[in-house]
Symmetry: C2
Subunit: 432 residues, 2 copies
């Protein structure tokens, strides 16, 4: 490149951008050659990097060389076809292009005026998504609903909790915050517990209702009803239930219809989260003819988030996206069949989507031994670097989770992953 890198320069961006595209494309070409789960030790990187930032510029090639030799060995490769842990965080060609475009335009869309297209495209593509999911019309922006892309699922849980909290406190007074009660099951994601901590809900008032295999770990409407009756009797104020479609541990599905009605009204959210400082006032907002997404979320600032979803929906189309999800579910079903054919293993919870919960049976009847055996199997399989899986505990049983969903995963990866688990299981059983 000619001369030093400027803060911004179209031709330097072009040249360096092309170089970076090649680096990333090469990363995907090689991705199966890395251990899926990084095998580095805590603190490995500090020894490899200088103690302070350089005074004078390094070159892009220097940085990419460090990326390859020092950083990538410390990366756990979520996009590897052999990543079966947690839930997938899918990359895609279209999604990557959307991220590039959003980073390139680099605007901050807190109010409509700060980039009208960012707000309007988000409203439109979330209506597209609601229609693609066959949600009732109440969810569309044309009614009292409307969508917003939150930064994370945790923030989505938090903002609805805040909307519900403030709606009830407007009725009964702010001093009653200590009386508010939240309900969930023992399968609900920890994001709810964190949201309650943040929102100042008294920890004694967070009801975690027990589930078991009799309902496939779904919340029972009867136990909810009992808990609410009891809380009302002692003068507390039930105000929030978190139900789950596809829990993290085992994809349990709570019976939404039996649990109660959802209100679908954006105004509670906006009343809870809006601020209106002088330095953000503008004609369009004051005339109340536009959406200002700053009032639908925790942060003020926000990216041009909708570009990514827009490009994914357009560049793949709904039919291909449906086929993509169905293929992952089919691959999980294949894995489930493989587990079922090996009598040394058991399926712990019924497979509903693309997650299989299973465990190795212990020759000893002792539950502690069985749990240790499965923990050892997890560690042994992940230490090979060939696959990465994670775990949960269901009814006190340490349970392995095999979640299919990485964009490069094919049938052969699932078959090979099962072989790794079988080999490591045989090794462990031999040492017992």
């Amino acid at each position: 490149m000619e001369g030093e890198l400027k803060p911004m320069n179209a031709e330097q961006l072009r040249e360096c951008g092309h170089r970076m595209v090649d680096f990333i494309a090469d990363y995907y070409k090689d991705i199966e050659n890395f251990p899926v789960l990084s095998q580095v030790q805590p603190g490995y990187l500090r020894q490899l990097l200088p103690g302070s930032a350089p005074v004078h510029p390094d070159t892009l090639e220097d940085v990419l060389d460090d990326m390859q030799r020092k950083i990538l060995p410390g990366v756990t490769h979520w996009q590897s076809p052999n990543f079966f842990a947690y839930y997938p965080s899918n990359s895609s060609v279209a999604g990557f292009l959307g991220e590039m475009l959003s980073a390139g335009i680099n605007m901050v869309g807190f109010s409509w005026i700060t980039s009208p297209a960012a707000t309007e495209l988000e409203m439109i593509v979330l209506d597209w998504l609601a229609k693609a999911l066959n949600l009732p019309d109440d969810f569309l922006s044309t009614g009292r609903g409307g969508g917003v892309i939150q930064g994370t699922a945790s923030e989505a849980v938090l903002v609805v909790l805040l909307a519900a909290r403030d709606k009830v406190l407007r009725k009964i007074g702010k001093d009653a915050i200590g009386k508010l009660v939240v309900y969930s099951s023992d399968q609900t994601h920890s994001a709810l517990q964190k949201a309650c901590q943040i929102a100042g809900i008294h920890p004694d008032n967070c009801r975690v209702l027990k589930t078991d295999s009799s309902t496939d770990y779904a919340l029972s409407p009867e136990s909810l009803s009992e808990a609410i009756t009891h809380d009302l009797a002692i003068g507390l104020v039930p105000f929030f239930l978190c139900a789950t479609v596809g829990s993290t541990s085992s994809t349990a599905v709570d019976p939404l219809l039996a649990l109660g009605k959802i209100t679908k009204d954006r105004s509670a959210l906006i009343q809870s989260l809006s601020t209106n400082p002088e330095f953000l006032k503008n004609n369009a907002s004051e005339k109340n003819v536009v959406v200002d997404y700053k009032d639908w979320q925790i942060p003020l600032g926000r990216r041009f988030r909708s570009l990514k979803l827009w490009m994914v929906l357009r560049l793949y189309g709904l039919e291909n996206l449906q086929a993509y999800i169905r293929n992952h579910i089919k691959l999980a079903r294949d894995f489930e069949k493989l587990v079922a054919q090996d009598s040394r293993f058991e399926i712990v919870a019924p497979r509903k989507f693309s997650l299989v919960c299973f465990r190795l049976l212990s020759p000893q009847s002792d539950e502690d031994c069985a749990n240790k055996l499965n923990r050892d199997l997890l560690d042994a399989a992940n230490s090979t670097g060939k696959i990465y899986i994670s775990h949960t505990v269901l009814s006190n049983k340490y349970t392995l989770r095999f979640a299919v969903g990485a964009p490069l995963t094919e049938e052969r990866h699932v078959v090979d992953a099962w072989k790794v688990l079988q080999v490591e299981a045989s090794n462990l059983l031999r040492t017992l």
Copy 2:
């Protein structure tokens, strides 16, 4: 491109990525040709786009064509050299490359194990940053401090408020949340008000202390001390002061040393925000030898955030970054001189960094007329599409803000912006 776009494919990513780099480089080449502030009307985009997502894929060229013809007219161009509104949200070649790389690797770094390099690089580059800013050693990760990149400044304000709230509630009991008092000035960013709403601080207990031009809109330690004394006397519990270095309205600087001591201890933050669900447990976290950034922030998920800062620090080097900031301050000083030379205008607050607060003087002495005149000047200047500035109110005076900081801004842009303001001021004064 050969065949349909696959979910992920190295060679398709390469081909499409190169195309997108060219689109973005061309955008920067043309950026001065767009109106800085988008001139579209509310709802413009819905008429231009279909009502639902396509069933079959569109091509990348279709999407880029829509981007150019339908989306870009609705974009307010924060990276334009003629953007002087709010505060800058700087793009840069290096920052763009960091975003690309982060989107390419696309991992989720909530716990150390989920990508050790993401956590470790963030700790290292934030130590680099602390050293570059000459912060005391207490702020480094090697002591009880350590940095974290929050999603937004609003989240940074919220998490320290939560840490302070929970620290005091651990002493005095959770039931005392209604007694907690927060202090700030009337210049403090609205992010604090929103954080208080979220954290369940009683709105009656948020003290907004008045400032005026006698302290250049900085918070006075005496008025803080008086307020605290009063609150203690009536049995309330003061627990949080938000001081500001460079307020949003006028870059006012609160006197940090006179206002009190900071505690610099990450443990209060982690105690407030940690959760430990079974499905995220792992050996490294349980041995307590690693940092899990999920416990330092609101969300669970997080990107490989440090890559961007790492690339900016390395590809520019500290000396160039210092020169870059100093140049923006110099350009603001140039603008301030231009304003001072035109007796029709006044400087409203002293310029400290790269923001100039100024207003057009009204021939009438009526304050309402003067405010209307400046509001009209703002609208007139922004409607030209040649520049974008924003406003605030200081001591009841409607005040124009000229914030220098976009990466492409040069002296000529500042000079031309001043000419636009002079021409529009002359037009307005002529009609009075």
